[in-house]
């Protein structure tokens, strides 16, 4: 097991380096000058030239890349061009916000998704089944920014129950968590349902039923454990995905998290900050996948970790 984890982590390093290369050279090719952008309407070419020289922005690309890489390997991701603050501290400050959002979204997905999936499987083809599956499909069929807008309009402006946007307390998390978690809830519900149906159709379950065992213990004792196996692994991947993918939700609801930082960094051509944000999110995804694989191996002893 340890060797497996170590090997996976080692493989991740070239992946991460590859990603920094992609970002670096893409941002170099894209037209855009972070200093001219900072000055906007009050541009002065002299000032731009002077500040660019001070920031070493006109050095050759290769030199700048290795300067960045050297720093990164020491844990120093440099300073944001636009915000003039160390990238690491900016991301560490923003991460808790993204984490809270993602965890609540995941919680919503599991607390709503799994029972919905179970109920749907048990009452196959009935009204609750159709309702739940409809709800799930809706979740994956609406663009997040659209559902976010509708939620904001309905609950915040029309009804006044919740704040429109921002971050501060539990009230601010409700809408974004639901908007973000809805599609995950849908996926979990459908997966739970299909997984449970598949397991319930298995021979040994049929045998147990034939023997006359009461339905309830049969389901919860045997079928569920097996059915939840794929669901659990998906859950681990989902959390990583939620953490990395809350970009739109954070933008619409004005949550100062890592996703927002990444989008702002692209728009501001803020190379160090973008590298930091993307690396951070990538590491989370890799860890999430790793956790999923480990969980899978633990729960199903038949699977060899190779």
């Amino acid at each position: 097991m340890k060797r497996f984890i170590l090997k996976r982590l080692l493989i991740s390093i070239p992946i991460l380096i590859g990603i920094t290369v992609i970002i670096f050279f893409m941002l170099n090719v894209v037209p855009g000058d972070p200093v001219a952008l900072m000055m906007k309407e009050h541009i002065s070419v002299d000032v731009v030239a002077r500040v660019r020289a001070q920031m070493h922005l006109d050095d050759p690309a290769i030199v700048r890349y290795f300067r960045f890489l050297g720093g990164a390997l020491h844990g120093d991701l440099g300073e944001s061009y636009k915000l003039n603050r160390p990238v690491t501290s900016l991301i560490l400050h923003a991460f808790p916000n993204t984490l809270v959002l993602a965890l609540w979204a995941a919680l919503f997905a599991w607390v709503v998704g799994i029972p919905a999936g179970i109920l749907s499987a048990v009452k196959k083809y009935s009204l609750p089944d159709n309702l739940f599956m409809g709800f799930s499909l809706l979740g994956v069929s609406m663009p997040i920014f659209w559902s976010a807008l509708l939620f904001q309009w309905g609950f915040a402006v029309r009804l006044g129950w919740l704040p429109v946007a921002g971050f501060g307390g539990w009230k601010f998390v409700i809408m974004p968590a639901i908007v973000l978690g809805w599609s995950s809830a849908g996926i979990i519900a459908r997966l739970t349902r299909s997984s449970l149906l598949e397991v319930m159709g298995n021979d040994y379950i049929r045998t147990a039923r034939a023997k006359g065992l009461h339905e309830l213990p049969v389901i919860f004792g045997h079928a569920l454990k097996n059915a939840l196996l794929p669901v659990v692994t998906v859950m681990a991947i989902q959390v990583a995905g939620l953490l990395a993918g809350a970009v739109v939700t954070e933008s619409v609801f004005n949550i100062p998290g890592v996703g927002r930082i990444a989008v702002d960094a692209i728009q501001a051509r803020d190379m160090p900050l973008l590298q930091g944000a993307v690396l951070f999110e990538t590491v989370l995804v890799i860890l999430g996948n790793l956790a999923a694989d480990i969980l899978y191996a633990f729960i199903d002893p038949r699977i060899k970790v190779s």
Binding site: M39, I43, S44, V48, V51, H93, L119, A165, F167, N254
Partner: protein, 542 residues
Amino acid sequence: MDTGLIFQRTHARKRWPAMLLSLGVILAGACAVGAGAAEKVLTMAYNEEPQTSDMQMNTNDYMIPLNVYDRLIECVTTAPGKSALVPGLATKWEVSKDGKVYTFHLRKGVKFQNGEELTAKDVVYTFDRMLDPATKALNTDILDFVAGAPERMAGKAPGTSGLKELDKYTVQITLENAFVPFLAIMASPQASILNEKFTRPLGGKYGQTAESTCGTGAFMMKEWVLNDHHTLVANPGYWRGRPQIDRFVLKIVKDAETMRLLFEAGEIDLFDCDFAVSQIPYFTASPKWSKQIVSGPRAGIYYYSFNQKLKPFDDVRVRKAFQMAIDRRQILEKMYYNQGQLENGILPVGLIDYNPAQPKIEYNPAMAKQLLAQAGYPNGVDMEIATIAGKGPQWQKMGEIVQAMVMKSGFRVKLAQMDEAAFFATRKEGKLPMYSNVWSADFNDPDNFFYTFFGPKGTVARSFNNLDPAVYAALDQGRSETNLAKRAKLYNDLEKKLIVDQAVWVPMFSMKHLYVVQPKVKKFVVPWNGWSDFPIYDARVQ
């Protein structure tokens, strides 16, 4: 089924503690709200995180500096659209006969928020800091003409020779050449005064947190959550008297629609209609909001640029044709609901030396077509208009309307959306095709309009490329001409030449600035220059 019963049984047992807990939370919340009810709070939205309160490092976002610092001179809005320069941190000043030496007498007993008294040393330090290369300041152009500035910025001198401390409360600034707009510039937010004792030790870290910000202004920075909000509180020791507003919250909201939703939900107190021009009829027609609209004229001009280095606009006939191909009145009526007036020059109404007798540009597609043919484009011509993607839907909208309009005269417009960074980078190189924007006065002086767009560096950096040495000479002369009547004539003549002879841009209109305010905002005056940044000292909240 049985599953249902299981859920019910387990949950019923756990319900009571949860209910008690939530009841307690609600009660606690109510007490907190009750305690704060007497406080006068103004909440506003701001569409960009200023990232620093150091106004030397930020060229655009001045809401914080205008409220946390003061300047030697202040430019106040005296009446709608009117402004005046009044004493600020300086009680009086003298200008030498040759216009090069300015002597400022400071107000005595003004305290910074750290308790230190304002002295001439602070003023000299502040301006020298701007020119110090170690600061990497972006706003150095307000001090470009101070004697010794170029040497200081190049790192060749340890200080600035033109900045002198005569005694504890007197500062003398010597310019390299006479520069008439200098006093007006001293009133701009970039010229805010810092405290030497507080600022020097912080070095590059000054202004990045609430604790590292210190000014003499009406408000103090209390709390700053990056990308989320700023909280400022009233400065009880403010030399003009404590402001009526106790707390001022600035929420960072980058999206115009979210801003609008926040306003409708009552979470912000002021909504700047510049962020949603298309919603003006909604507000004016709404029974709830129509009485809450505050409007005022502003000294800003909407324009379309011409890049004389890109065909077809290298030919003055094509430029004049385009001027006649847009029905500006229709855009003003249909898109901006007649909230302004057409402009035909460089200066908008409200600016010193504004000339209402500028020859009017007419809408004449037939003549435009003729001119195009004369210029060698009998079958019309292709052109591009650039807009910024995702920012300011009104520019995009105007672009699409203009695209349709000028088709009749033979201009085939392609709309090129670029993201902001690409837009500004291309424009800086002088390569950006036509774009539209609004320029609001930084300070009330014609130089701020003429020089910005048609000075030697600005005309390239803004992609106009009107490379005319005669114009440069006239601009320099205007800067140093101390006789005000001669100065006015100089600018009027220059304006006529630029518009009528050279057709350097398409002046569109100047517009009123509309704000919608919550009922609790009792007094709010629209700033004369149409900025979205303004001091709130004079506003009143219930």
